[in-house]
Amino acid sequence: MSAAVGTREPGELLKNGAIQLMLAINAVIMIYPLFVMVMSSFKTNAEIFSSPFALPAHFSLANAERVWSETNFVRYLANSVSITAAAVMLILLFSTMAAYAIARYQFRLSALVLMFFLSGMTVPLKLAIIPLFIQLDSLGLVDSYAGLVLVYVAMGIPSAVFIMTGFLRTLPRELEESARMDGASEFRIMRSIMLPLARPALVIVAIQNAVPIWNDFFFPLVLITSDNLKTLPQGLTVFVGEFTTDWGVLFTGLTLAALPITLLYIVLSKQFISGITQGAVK
């Protein structure tokens, strides 16, 4: 919007000042708790309670060492990384294949198939957790990586198909046609010509799915019982149970858990914001 209209007037300056002040206060409310969390992770328990507002006396890594060596934290982290990576890869693979078929070929049932995928977007899978649990149990997939990954893939496919179909439809026919005339196979056309062009949409879909999967707590809570298979959000509850009174270690655990996604967000904030708000802003 035009900040220029009437900027010179004193009233406008005052108003802009008030807006900046409000934004600044909001920024402090958003950032300060995280700042305290990070700073507290360097403090001892006594320091946290006696001087909560001060910076740490020494930037000691003692808490981090305890988290690393005395808990299963690294294991939880590794589990989260592998489960999120596997689920996102499969979502990208399956939904791109399906979207490619729907977007690039004309066949009788295509509208119906697309409809089926889209209707999946309206289902809150959390509410189907009981039959899902029974289903996975009968397949022997409760308390396994595979069961959790499959649930996430099912959760991600509908919106991924929606976004990929929309994007793949916009790609020009000509490239495809000329490759076909040159005798390229359908698979080759898809892999070597169309998919490289679809990279922006793939990134959006990846982020849109990776963030909620990485952060999810509900499905591991129901589906995973072995400590060795727990994901990071779920592992944090175990961790907090072990260290209820040692706040230095607790804040360190929270900081370390928040670190990976925060760093990624700071580097890729634009993609994150559009990835997460994508569905809503349409």
Partner: protein, 311 residues
């Protein structure tokens, strides 16, 4: 239309069908096994009695009768439902109200506005579990940052999560802090789509902020408001993580933070804490929650969309 594709189509129809089918199969199999089947089963299982993991007999509406009319279940159901409704209203007023102010402020594109966008959205990317524990520590009655700050200005310690009258509000506050950035950026995106010309023309005609807001911006962002309202509704009815982490599975104290998501989970899986584990009653609850969410969403969409057209 084009020679190339027709050639392939006519010459190898079976080959083409096979190729299309193989592209669709993996996604369809996953959807049928892990979305369609569980969803249909959820509706079926609500009418069955359970004894362990498998349904043992058809019992009609018995599960629904229990969760709606038989104490203590019905009391728990209505208590949780009440908190979901309170949560929805509070989030609409406080979260979306604040988000609206922030979005309007960011629309001015004053220096630093991009950094503000990044900052307000930062908590959104964190896990609700991290946010819940963080605020639980900050709200600790003796050592928490909030009470320590209040002590500086001479206000005595408040047991935020340990008090029936403040527990739900505390949990809601953490939730608002976590999610504020989402409606802010959705509303901002809506405002940014309004043409500059419309706003400048109104300005030149002498419209102040109030007129600009009520006559131009508010009506034109109606679609964003619809989306934010519906997502807030769905979110407040699926609410689970933050109350679970901050106040516990039983919605302590005195069920003050019990919400349908917690109650549903507890009924279905929470045998160790409450002595109840009933997939039948759990399914009945799930079906009712599904009907509430789908029904209200459909009605709201119709009503709000009509408002959009009228405006």
């Amino acid at each position: 239309m084009n020679i190339g594709r027709r050639h392939t189509t006519k010459a190898f129809p079976w080959r083409r069908s096979l190729w299309i089918a193989s592209l669709l199969t993996p996604a369809l199999v996953v959807m049928v096994l892990f979305v369609l089947w569980p969803l249909l089963s959820a509706f079926r299982l609500a009418f069955y009695e359970f004894n362990g993991l498998q349904p043992t007999g058809f019992i009609g509406f018995e599960n629904f009768r229990k969760v709606l009319f038989e104490q203590p279940y019905s009391g728990w159901t209505y208590n949780a439902l009440k908190h979901n409704i309170i949560a929805f209203v509070a989030l609409m007023v406080f979260e979306n109200g604040t988000a609206f102010l922030l979005a309007y402020s960011l629309l001015k594109a004053l220096p630093g506005h991009r950094i503000h966008q990044v900052i307000v959205f930062l908590p959104v990317v964190l896990s609700a579990v991290i946010v819940g524990f963080l605020w639980k520590l900050f709200l600790h009655p003796l050592f928490g940052l909030v009470n320590q700050t209040l002590a500086l200005v001479g206000i005595g310690a408040v047991p935020w999560l340990g008090n029936e009258s403040t527990a739900l509000g505390s949990v809601l506050f953490a939730n608002i802090w976590h999610w504020l950035g989402f409606p802010t950026l959705v509303l901002l995106a809506g405002m940014q789509r309004i043409s500059k010309e419309a706003i400048e023309a109104a300005r030149l005609d002498g419209a102040g902020d109030y007129v600009l807001m009520t006559r131009i911006i508010w009506p034109l962002i109606a679609p964003s408001i619809t989306i934010v309202t519906i997502l807030t509704f769905i979110g407040s009815f699926n609410w689970f993580e933050i109350p679970y982490v901050m106040a516990g599975l039983t919605g302590s104290p005195g069920g003050a933070t019990d919400v349908l998501g917690l109650y549903f989970y507890r009924t279905a899986f929470g045998s160790t804490t409450t002595g109840i584990q009933d997939f039948g009653q759990g399914s009945a609850l799930a079906v009712m929650m599904f009907i509430i969410v789908a029904g209200v969403t459909a009605i709201a969409l119709r009503y709000l969309r009509r408002r959009e057209i009228e405006l």
